[in-house]
Structure formats: structure tokens, C-alpha cells
């Protein structure tokens, strides 16, 4: 399957394999370059997105061990991506446990008056960045409705980080981690750890068909299910009310107030 194996081998051959990537880039319409800040992905401006995605998929499949866990910056100076395209890209990268990093330092922000094309900032970043600039960006994303839709079960050891809302068609299993700048909606059973409204949006909520998390966080608050409490087999929603996280049954299309 892979051409790179042991980790020390990868490091020693990094230079040469990157050189090879650049050579192939003309043919494959995509380029993956090593930069000071990590890997940089450039997409050919004229090629249809599906072709680009296939080319990237082939490239990743060639050396899955090499790319695993890497974070990839997306160079959007020549090509903007639609929201739906970016989600497809993220899905592909998630298969290789890769994430997309923001690249303000590489490409200048170019999205004045471009509501549907979100060029830069992406998953994994808000967890480390806590500046006011980040939360500003997140706020913008929530307004634009840039929700991440994931159609699979999130298993132990997998992490989904997204600056806006996250919708998951599947379960979130114990040991999995889902962190969203906005709301988290799970069409399935929530058994893992979720953090909605990261880092400080107290209006965010978490909904799932069955709410049984290991731990549930909203903004700066944290809650654990009470010891020994049974799990309700009903859809429930968790949100902050009066300074604490409360869980309410979802009845007739809205949270039920007792």
C-alpha cells in the first residue's frame, strides 16, 4: 500500500519525496509543497473540482503513511472553493487523519463581499488559537451558515474540529471528540465528548437523538452526566440557561420546558 513506512525513514526521505510531488504536480493539477509552515496544497484554477479531488485522492493513496496526521494549508490565492467543495475536501483528508490549517501567513485574505466562498480558515485551528480575531472569524462563519455535514459515525480517537456548526449523521462514540464554534447536531447517539460554542459562544446548543455523552461542554462550561443516571431514549437538547448547562427533552419540534 504505502511507499513510506517507518517514521524515521519518512523524515530522512522527506526532501526527495517532496521533490517528486512537485514534479508530478503539472500532470495531476494539484501540487503539494513543503513550506516553512508545513504542507501547502495548491489547486489548478481551471480544472473541474471533481478532477482535482480525484487527483488528490490518488496522491494521498500513494503514500498514506507519509501524509497521515499531517496538517495541510490550502492555497486559495488562485482558486476559491465553494463550501460544498471544501467539505468534500475535508472528508477526504479526514480519511487520512489530516486536517486543514488556516494560512493567513501564506495567502492574504481575499474574501471581501464573497459570502459563499470561504477560502482560508478551517478545522483544528480554533482549538489552539484563542485570540479575539479567531472568535470574530467564527462569528462570521456562523452567520454565513457554513455548517459541516458529516455522514458517518465518529469513532474513538477521531476528532472533528470546525469553526462553525457541525451536523453528524451517525453516532459519536466514546473516545471521539467533536468541537464546534457553533451548534452541534447529532442524528444518532452521542456517547463521546462534544464542545459546542467553542471558545465562548454561550448561545450554542447540542442536540442528539440520544444524549449520553462522556462529557459535554458549551462555551466555557463543562458538565458530566450525573452518576448512575439512566439515559433518556428521546431526543434531547443541551444549552446554557441561567449560568449552567441544562438538558431538555425535545418535544414537538422545540425544547420542552418543565
Amino acid at each position: 500500500m504505502g511507499t513510506e513506512d517507518t517514521s524515521d525513514k519518512v523524515t530522512s526521505e522527506e526532501g526527495s519525496s517532496l521533490g517528486r510531488e512537485e514534479k508530478q504536480s503539472v500532470q495531476g493539477n494539484i501540487a503539494i509543497k513543503g513550506t516553512r509552515n508545513g504542507l501547502l496544497l495548491t489547486l489548478e484554477p481551471e480544472t473541474p473540482f471533481s478532477e482535482l479531488l480525484n487527483a488528490l485522492s490518488d496522491r494521498l493513496a500513494e503514500a498514506p503513511g507519509f501524509f497521515r496526521g499531517a496538517s495541510l494549508a490550502l492555497d486559495t490565492s488562485r482558486r476559491m472553493l465553494r463550501v460544498s467543495e471544501r467539505i468534500q475536501l475535508e472528508d477526504l483528508l479526514a480519511h487520512y487523519h489530516m486536517s486543514v490549517t488556516p494560512l493567513e501567513q501564506i495567502a492574504p485574505m481575499q474574501r471581501n463581499g464573497e459570502p459563499q466562498a470561504v477560502p482560508t480558515n478551517d478545522t483544528a485551528s480554533p482549538i489552539t488559537a484563542t485570540s479575539s480575531e479567531t472568535s470574530q472569524v467564527q462569528h462570521d462563519l456562523r452567520e454565513t451558515g457554513d455548517t459541516l455535514l458529516i455522514r458517518r459515525t465518529i469513532r474513538s480517537g477521531q476528532a472533528i474540529h470546525h469553526p462553525s456548526n457541525i451536523v453528524i449523521l451517525g453516532d459519536v462514540n466514546p473516545g471521539a471528540e467533536v468541537v464546534a464554534g457553533g451548534d452541534i447536531i447529532i442524528w444518532g447517539v452521542l456517547r463521546g465528548m462534544v464542545h459546542a460554542g467553542y471558545p465562548d459562544d454561550e448561545s450554542a446548543c447540542v442536540c442528539s437523538l440520544q444524549l449520553a455523552p462522556v462529557q459535554l461542554r458549551i462555551a466555557h462550561m463543562l458538565s458530566r452526566p450525573p452518576e448512575g443516571a439512566g439515559v433518556q431514549p428521546n431526543p434531547e437538547v443541551a444549552r446554557i440557561r441561567n449560568g449552567r448547562i441544562v438538558v431538555e427533552t425535545w418535544v414537538n419540534g422545540r425544547p420542552h420546558r418543565k
Binding site: M1, T3, D5, T6, R155, G157, P174, G175
Partner: protein
């Protein structure tokens, strides 16, 4: 027939990977298939002992990979079945003695000789695990009905899918049906609810396994053992046969059997309602 490479893995240690490998390998060989079982747990080998072949090891997997010997020289023929061979792990080396490319090449070599190649994976998610799955067509996950094991299995399923392998199948090992029925242990439905994969077999807890393991006799030879029958059924399912999943049903106690004989046992009452 197309040769199939199947890796048996679990994430957590001690759930019965090696026992499962030995028994399914033996069961497939009993059905007349040519089978190689490969111990990829370099440095902590055990498959040889469970098959009772430890005193025949001359060369091992690392010797083959490093070109110290030919593959045929390292393969140990089973003492009971002519179609079963073991490729033992090295005991004096560690997991990094072999890389993924070498392991994949080894799988290709074995494919040419055997109908089934079963690879016993080490515990964990590091290099040893990656080596074990790199050349596999199919993955079997072994889990026990307990939280830690199920959680690790879930992690492994995620990694297997990320590696581009087909969805693994599950063997639920060491189930105590009576405890599960009382709610003192996770039952089959609880485990499947979390993992969401297909079930290949359910192996009941069985004291005879301990005896068999210590003697180096796979339990599938023991006709009276329910665990042995469960492994045999799992092997038949791997070969594509339809075998009902009836391993769960506990052998009724003497008292229960008496009650049924008299005619007002719960099982019989249930049957009447259904018919």
C-alpha cells in the same frame, strides 16, 4: 480459488486474538483449506505455543524478511493437520525489525502458496498493528463484552477504515450469556450498537480453552467445547457458508431441563405462544 489474507486484531491486549487466529486457522484447515497462520507479534510471540509448535521453530518471520532463509524453510507444518502451516514471530527482536513494504511483500509470497493467510496482530495501534493490516484483504476484530475492549475495537475500526480496508467483521469473545441476561455484562446488542459492524461469531466463555491453550491443542478439536464449535462456525462463515448465530444460547442447567421435561419451563411456554 482466490487466496485471502485476513488479519485478526483488537487494539486491546488479552481479548483472544491469538486464540482466535489459532482456532480459525485450524478450523479452516480442518475443512480442507491450505492455511498459513502468521504471528506478527514480534518480540511477544505466542501463537506457536497455542498450536503446540514452539519446539520446532528454527527460522522466523524476521529471518524471512531479512533474507536469512527462504519462506519455505521458516514455515512450520502443523503436527495434526497437513494443510496448516505456522510462520512464527521472532522473539529476540521488536516490531520495528519489519516495515510495511516488507510485510506486504511477505503477504504476496504467502498468497501464492495458500488459500487462507491469517495474520495474528499485536495489541496496540503502532507500527506492529500497521504492519499486520497492510497486506490484508479483510480484517477481523476480536472484542470482549466489556467497555475497555469495545472502545479499543471502535478505535481500531476507525483506523482500519482510514487505511482504506473494507469494514471489519467482529468476533465477540468470552461472552457469558447468563451474566449478560441478568444485565451484569454487556450483551451482544450493546456491543453491536456501539460498533455498528457485522458479526462473524460469538464465542462463549469456556474453561476448556485454558486447558487447551496450556496443552497446545486448539479447542476446535474438542467436540464437546462450545467455544470450539463457535470458532468452527466462524470459520464456516468466513468460507461463505450460512451458519445460524446460535452460540449465545446457554446450555440449560439440569434443573431447567427437568422443568422443560415436565412441561412448564419458560422456554417451552415461549414456544407455545409463538406457535
Amino acid at each position: 480459488m482466490e487466496s485471502r489474507v485476513i488479519t485478526i486484531t483488537s487494539g486491546k491486549g488479552g481479548v483472544g486474538k491469538t486464540t482466535t487466529t489459532a482456532n480459525i486457522g485450524t478450523a479452516l484447515a480442518l475443512q480442507g483449506k491450505r492455511v498459513a497462520v502468521v504471528d506478527s507479534d514480534i518480540g511477544l510471540r505466542n501463537l506457536d505455543a497455542i498450536l503446540g509448535l514452539e519446539n520446532r521453530i528454527v527460522y522466523d518471520l524476521v529471518d524471512v524478511v531479512e533474507g536469512q532463509c527462504r519462506l519455505r524453510q521458516a514455515l512450520i507444518k502443523d503436527k495434526r493437520l497437513p494443510d496448516l502451516y505456522l510462520l512464527p514471530a521472532a522473539q529476540t527482536r521488536d516490531k520495528n525489525a519489519v516495515n510495511s513494504v516488507q510485510m506486504e511483500q511477505l503477504c504476496q509470497q504467502l498468497r501464492a502458496e495458500f488459500d487462507f493467510v491469517l495474520i495474528d496482530s499485536p495489541a496496540g495501534i503502532e507500527q506492529g498493528f500497521r504492519n499486520a493490516i497492510v497486506g490484508a484483504d479483510e480484517i477481523i476484530i476480536v472484542a470482549n463484552p466489556e467497555m475497555a475492549s469495545v472502545r479499543d475495537a471502535d478505535r481500531i475500526i476507525g483506523l482500519v477504515e482510514a487505511a482504506g480496508k473494507p469494514e471489519p467483521r467482529l468476533i465477540l469473545n468470552r461472552l457469558r450469556a447468563e451474566m449478560a441476561r441478568r444485565g451484569d455484562m454487556m450483551d451482544v446488542a450493546d456491543v453491536l450498537e456501539v460498533l455498528g459492524v457485522d458479526l462473524l461469531g460469538i464465542v462463549p466463555e469456556d474453561e476448556m480453552i485454558i486447558v487447551a491453550t496450556n496443552k497446545g491443542e486448539p479447542i476446535v478439536f474438542e467436540k464437546r467445547s462450545r467455544a470450539g464449535r463457535a470458532f468452527l462456525h466462524a470459520a464456516q462463515r468466513i468460507m461463505g457458508e450460512e451458519v445460524p448465530l446460535d452460540e449465545v444460547t446457554e446450555v440449560p442447567s439440569l434443573l431447567e431441563r427437568l422443568r422443560r421435561l415436565v412441561g412448564f419451563g419458560p422456554a417451552l411456554a415461549e414456544k407455545r405462544v409463538r406457535s
